[in-house]
Assembly symmetry: C2
Homo-oligomer: 612 residues x 2
């Protein structure tokens, strides 16, 4: 069966959790990122006028930062005209036009800083920057109808094709940081020009082959170049690079029908979600290479779990949903979005985390220094700008395009993957999805149009749900985590109610550091404890089982917080008999994980001890 994407252009988020986030994104984050990028000289770099001795020396990945910002702005412009914003971008496009090289080459760093080293340093992010510029150009064209940027980038792609495929004059075969592969698929899908598809396939097919001429920043695994992609079965190396690659692989498997590629994607996806992913959807167990490590290696306090990595997994999961409708894919979209992605941006939309650890223990950090373990821990306070600022514009473009993730369709079936309230028009069908998800699980879906069936995802966290069609209880057929509903009447109203309640999760005993610990979830949202809300260090608290918790909406977090029964252990001795344990009953306040570190720095933990 062929599954079709339904892009965000056809969907308007209305009310609810992510509509609110989109508003902050549009009104605040876009401009917060813009002003940071201005201050740091990133926009000025497009003038290609930097000379030795001047401040703000261009950096190899600055083009990608600006490109992602333009892409974000374009998604926002698509929904709401803004002449000033458009003119600002037009000026950048003019600079690109002005500074693009004769042969189509464009990269502000190499043009200015290392003109003789074009395409000679595999890890210098050139093709990565090119990919982001292509994505930005596509988005800007779709938003405004203006073709200049797109044309410039098509010319650049021709240059890349010439250097890498025809003349083979580049000093490496495939990009050290993947991204252009998925951008070329987008360009193909927009233009239907086969050459873009071929170039994407070229990079995918050449990766990990003996005949490719590569250099390695770390080792072949780091850049997924250890073997041909179709033979890869595990997620390895730098997480963002990896998932951008897998995203393109899934795209190409869908477009070309390549079954080997599809199998590789499936194996890798399963490896991630069953062995190498934090409960928050975060990926990357170490800062050392920002990478996947080993099955079950998920240290909480040392977690890297970069915001961009969760975003890249979300991209990959979306593509997998277009290969097969199986709830495990959209579940991961949901898990990443509500947890490890939005934890990367403050509630006010102005500051960011690069890393999203699941635990912050000031005592562990101090012990580490005293013990001389030479460990490096993630920062504990959100920052407005960081040198490696890939995450802020990445989260901005994602939030602006969340409409991409809600629906897909086949000839006769509408698939509902995500439950963000919205109005949409797909083909000739008008759709309204309303509710207060995930604060509560009651949703109403109204359709006016032609789909014969509606398939709604049953979230993996949900054990029970009820379904009503046209006001009557309905027993839909379930398949691969979706419930299928006949909708052959021209107007159809579906009500579904997912039971949302706080539950405790455990993790596989192979995950050493979570043994004997539990995490609280309510619906798709993972919770955490912060010192600031609790009467003792969160590391001295234990939650009672079975869970006794009450949850209520808290305006400060835009979500439910939970209060659970627990204990504080009061023994003062270093060692004491377990029968002599002295416990004081306390209430534990859990807040959504995504909102940690919004009220200053605080010790925090997701995986909690259990009162025994």
């Amino acid at each position: 069966m062929e599954y079709k994407k339904n892009p965000f252009e056809n969907v308007d988020l209305q009310g609810g959790f992510f509509a609110q986030r989109q508003k902050i994104n549009k009104d605040i984050t876009l401009y917060a990122v813009k002003s940071r990028f201005e201050e740091t000289g990133r926009f000025d770099a497009f003038k290609c006028a930097w000379e030795e001795g001047m401040p703000h020396k261009p950096h190899i990945f600055w083009d990608s930062d600006i490109a992602k910002w333009i892409e974000s702005a374009a998604y926002i412009l698509h929904k709401e005209k803004n002449a000033q914003l458009e003119s600002y971008i037009d000026d950048i496009v003019d600079l690109i036009e002005k500074n693009q090289q004769q042969d189509g080459y464009f990269n502000t760093y190499f043009i200015v800083v290392e003109p003789d080293n074009r395409f000679s340093i595999r890890d210098a992010h050139e093709l990565y920057c090119a990919g982001h510029l292509i994505e930005a150009a596509i988005a800007y064209y779709k938003a405004t109808g203006k073709k200049k940027f797109l044309n410039l980038m098509c010319k650049y792609v021709d240059c890349i094709e010439r250097v890498f495929v025809l003349e083979k004059t580049a000093e490496f075969t495939t990009p050290g940081h993947e991204e252009i592969e998925l951008a070329l698929v987008k360009l193909y899908e927009l233009t239907r020009e086969e050459k873009y598809l071929r170039l994407s396939l070229y990079f995918i097919n050449a990766r990990g082959r003996k005949e490719s001429v590569e250099t390695f920043f770390l080792e072949p695994l780091y850049s997924q170049s250890h073997e041909p992609v179709r033979r890869q079965k595990e997620a390895v190396g730098h997480c963002v690079r990896a998932c951008y690659l897998y995203t393109a692989m899934a795209d190409l498997a869908r477009i070309t029908g390549d079954k080997e590629l599809k199998s590789a994607c499936e194996a890798i996806f399963d490896n991630i979600i069953n062995r190498r992913m934090y409960i928050t959807g975060g990926i990357g167990s170490t800062h050392n290479g920002e990478r996947f490590t080993r099955d079950w290696d998920l240290p909480n306090s040392l977690a890297y779990a970069e915001t961009c990595a969760a975003i890249s997994l979300c991209f990959f999961a979306l593509r997998m949903t277009l290969l097969e409708v199986n709830s495990k894919y959209a579940d991961i979209v949901e898990r990443t979005l509500f947890n490890s992605i939005i934890s990367g941006i403050s509630l006010d939309g102005e500051s960011f985390f690069y890393e999203n650890p699941l635990e912050i223990s000031s005592v562990e950090r101090e012990n580490s220094k005293a013990g001389g373990y030479k460990q490096r821990f993630p920062i504990t306070g959100r920052v407005k700008v960081f040198e490696c600022s890939c995450c802020p514009p990445n989260i901005t473009r994602l939030i602006a395009s969340l409409g991409d993730y809600i629906y897909s369709y086949s000839e006769d079936t509408l698939f509902v993957h995500q439950y963000f309230s919205n109005k949409a028009k797909i083909l000739d069908t008008e759709i309204t999805l309303s509710g207060d998800y995930p604060n509560n699980g009651s949703l109403s879906l109204e359709l006016r149009g032609a789909f014969k069936r509606v398939a709604m995802r049953i979230p993996s966290w949900c054990n029970e749900y009820s379904l009503f069609v046209g006001g009557k209880e309905y027993e839909g057929e379930e398949s691969k985590g979706y419930v299928y509903i006949n909708a052959d009447k021209p107007c159809c109203k579906i009500e579904i109610n997912f039971e949302i309640k706080p539950v405790l999760l455990m993790s596989n005993p192979f995950v050493l550091n979570n043994r004997g610990k539990v995490a609280l979830m309510r619906g798709p949202i993972v919770y955490c404890l912060e010192d600031i809300d609790n009467e003792s260090s969160v590391f001295n608290l234990a939650v009672s089982v079975p869970l006794k918790a009450s949850c209520a909406y808290d305006n400060a977090f835009g979500a439910f917080c939970c209060e659970a029964d627990g204990v504080l252990i009061e023994n003062k001795a270093l060692y004491f008999r377990s029968e002599n344990v002295k416990k004081k009953p306390v209430k534990l306040k859990f807040i959504p994980y995504f909102s940690f570190a919004n009220r200053g720095e605080s010790d925090m933990r997701v995986w909690c001890d259990i009162d025994v």
Copy 2:
């Protein structure tokens, strides 16, 4: 009240746990260490004939290794003549005599390798070696009546006094590695020559003073030179150095009646046992400086817990018992002896551990490499020799002199601190202590003699005991963890029965890595799980609470092993609801911690997860 030592010379261990260990020590370990030291050139170093280009270049601490070996041999000779062994030592003493410098100086390393650098490198262990040579000379004199070695060392002490106190020509004021301080007290106690006491006091008093001229291998804390000793309240720095210092301080406090010194010892001792000691009696939370770190910082798998460090704590605790009869001191002697000390030697007496971690996880080690945490873990297999071989002869001399730890006395009271079966003669009193401790807690103590009272330690692990005197139940007065019994009849038979049963211990919630975990103890013995005995990795097992365990004597370990009810968690998912946990009941086999790694390398843990 003045408390008197009762040295091992008056005590013969007979039957039971440590008598067996003494036999292995005498028959096997002494010669195992001897042959290793011969192979590595340690004995030959006493010829002072090494030249550049020859193998076995002398090392700065080899004198201490040989000295501790001679001391061990002397304790053994004291109990059993052995002409061959004595002649072997006499040859070494002759070499010392031959190579001792005109002014009394003796150090095989400096005489041969760095003759111009005598007493110029604070951290080169010269005074540490001197201390061990003094201890060896005293022991050998007591064992054989031969005075030559002792005289040579007295001459060396005179040299040290001249250089450090009278002429002040040394390039530092106090030793970088303490040891000579306690050795000088022993020399004073043997000879009653005040000058040795004065020299010990000189080193103690000069330590940490601004006017002292010192260099620092690491920082002042590392060598306890951060402030004058009487102002020190916490155990800091290198554990062995620290506890050798504290041992001498406690000796001097007793001999001189210095209350400030006594208070410092008490504060430091309490700091160790209430904040900085593993449940095994091990001390040293990191290999990085082999040192104390911070309160509550007791990582299990990274524990350093050097065998020598536990021995040094045992020395310190013995001295504290002579300052005040309080069971917390003898409890620590017992805790270290049955756990972190004898874990340092294999059951067959031939191989050793320098470090005694409380957890070995091959998965953690692999994860650490993959995560690039740059952690260093203790070795997992016992070795017959190691470069830094301080521990093997240290454990040998301790086991040979365990009789030191059992009794002390005051004018009218006999104190029984340890319960190793023995026959002793103190003053005119003949004493027989019998039982099968700690396999069971029933002990019989018979006295024929003059003590009016007997005080027996109630071990801290014991909640209940019964006491019979002359066959009749007896209610003794309890004070500071000892029960006092009138024994004014010329013959008195005391029977005491300490309830020994397996119990679970918890640790203070501030100890991060033990949160939600328990350790099994039975009497003074701490237990551990090893993979080799269990059907799954020990990290996938959890013990059921309340504990349901059966224990039985196991000849292979010379102690009881325990089998406890527990579970294996069988869920395969990465994350799952706690209510869906699938548990398989299993029996967990616990072995005494001291016997870990005696059957090859295996994952091991002391602190276990709890079935919840």
